[in-house]
Amino acid sequence: MSLFGIEDRQWIFLATVVFVVAAALRAYTALKLHRKAKRPSTLMLVCFGWILQTIGLYARGLEYGGCPLSNRFELVQFMVWSAIALYIFVGPAFRVSFLGMFTSTFASVFSILSLTVRSWDSPSRVPIFGDSPWIETHAALALFSYGVFGILALTSVMYLLQSRSLKQKKMGGLFPYMPSIFELTQINFRLLAIGFFILSASLAIGAVYWFRETESVDQPKLGTTIVVWFAYGILILLRSRQTLSYKQYSWTCIAVFATALLSLEAVDQPKAKESPLLDSTPPARSP
């Protein structure tokens, strides 16, 4: 669907361009000019990209009359949108310098990927929610938690880079611009707790419907979702007990997020059997 004369994918393409520019400018300022770019300049660019992306997703949502979460392209875009929203609205509280560059790089990579692989945006797919706003909330929250875990994976990468630089005594590159390793460990734990809470809330909502109609969710989707939830649950337990070293913890956060991304594959699979809960007539997608 188009909004203001621009198609939804085109809005998202423009947003991706802005994310790429934000990431490139921030990296160029640090690595080439050796200057600390001021946070507002990065934040403004990322905000602008996020607004463009919001318009694109809104236009797509108008087509469905709900959250645009019907195919892999939309799932990835919604996850990126959530990660950026977290950076914009919660990021300042974290006071993590350079998070903007990492977040805009993350957004650029996933956005470019989802725009490039045309099959991810299959026009033949139908919305997955039927007429239940709770299932829509369940899906939106789950994707939002993936956005949080995406940021967690980024701050884990930042920790590993910073720790490696300190161990190897290499003070160049991004080292001077990144936060302390102690701050990163604190933020990582907060992100894990926030993401786990949101994912748990999402699964709790989903479980209510699943108990009513166990056939409504395919086994692969159910299995992978539970695996991801358990993985983050175990991680939060190990981190609370300080069983894992920070290095192990960071690597695990990255690995679990990669697994969570793969679980989108299962979420995106066509359902073997349409559930009565989802039995609504979807509006026709424009080709």
Partner: protein, 350 residues
Amino acid sequence: MSTHHGELLLITINHETVSLEKRERYSLGDAQIKMLYDALHHSPILEESLILNTCNRFELYSKTSDPKNGGAIAFKTLASFYNIQREEIESHARIRFGQEAIKHLIEVSAGLRSQITGEAEIFGQVKKAYATCQRLGYSGRLINRMVQKGFQAAKLIRQSTQIGEGQINISNVAVDLSLKIFGSLKNTSALVVGTGETGEKTAKALRSRGASNFGVASHHSERANEIADKWGGNPHALGELETYLNDYDIIISSSETDSPLLDARSLAKHMDARKNRPLFLIDLGLPRNMDASCQEIENVYLYNLDDLAKIAKDNLSERRAAIKQSEKIAAQKSASIWQMLESRGLVNFQ
């Protein structure tokens, strides 16, 4: 000496022109600064003045209505004020005129002329000096325009070059690294092992950045008590290091020892109890106080004297490049400020 554009003159006595012992006599308190302003403005040819007085420099910027004699009058007044021979004060000072004086002001404000090149404190000191000058009523159109535009140029230098980036002495490099590990030093505790000069400087630098919990360890408990009293902190006997090691996050060691005080094996025993809390080992000792194997342990960051010196050297070479770039900006900006002053008829009126 050339007095071209002598309507604006600068007399500077600083660490580049004279030794500390001789510089000391030019240091002034607030009341004395006011007296000096009054003395200078007894002469009708000195129309505006700005005195900058810091621990490392005395500077007088003046606008004079008599470019040929303004410098001589200023030196005569200073000699009388400090009660020393005019020839002597002239030998301690450098005099600059016109655009060169503006360039000097920009370079001083940006930290280019500081003993520790690039330090930022001087900018605040120049601002304070200008505020005093304004309050006492000795600044006029020329000084005001020159200083305000000079401040803008100094800010530009600090923002667009790396002049203030990276520490260039070992103690400050160690503090910077501590910040990169712990973020804030307010909740970190540091143990100083041995009583070497660099160790003391590093402890002081850590304290100045917020570290408050200190311990002092020495081979002899009497010596530890003595140093703890002097520097502040808890005294410890070095022989019992392993009993209090876990109380500290940063260990600065410069002890004379034949064998390493810590190695990977002895440290490994403590790491579980630390629960992932990082440990920063700063080994300033020769021979080394910490075995290189300590670095292999996760969450332990070991830096010896060579490591810190290398970082300081790298920072210095980057700063040298920044100095060249900054001097170029100062020259360009001083030229444009001078043109602006000319266009307003504030200089070049002879």
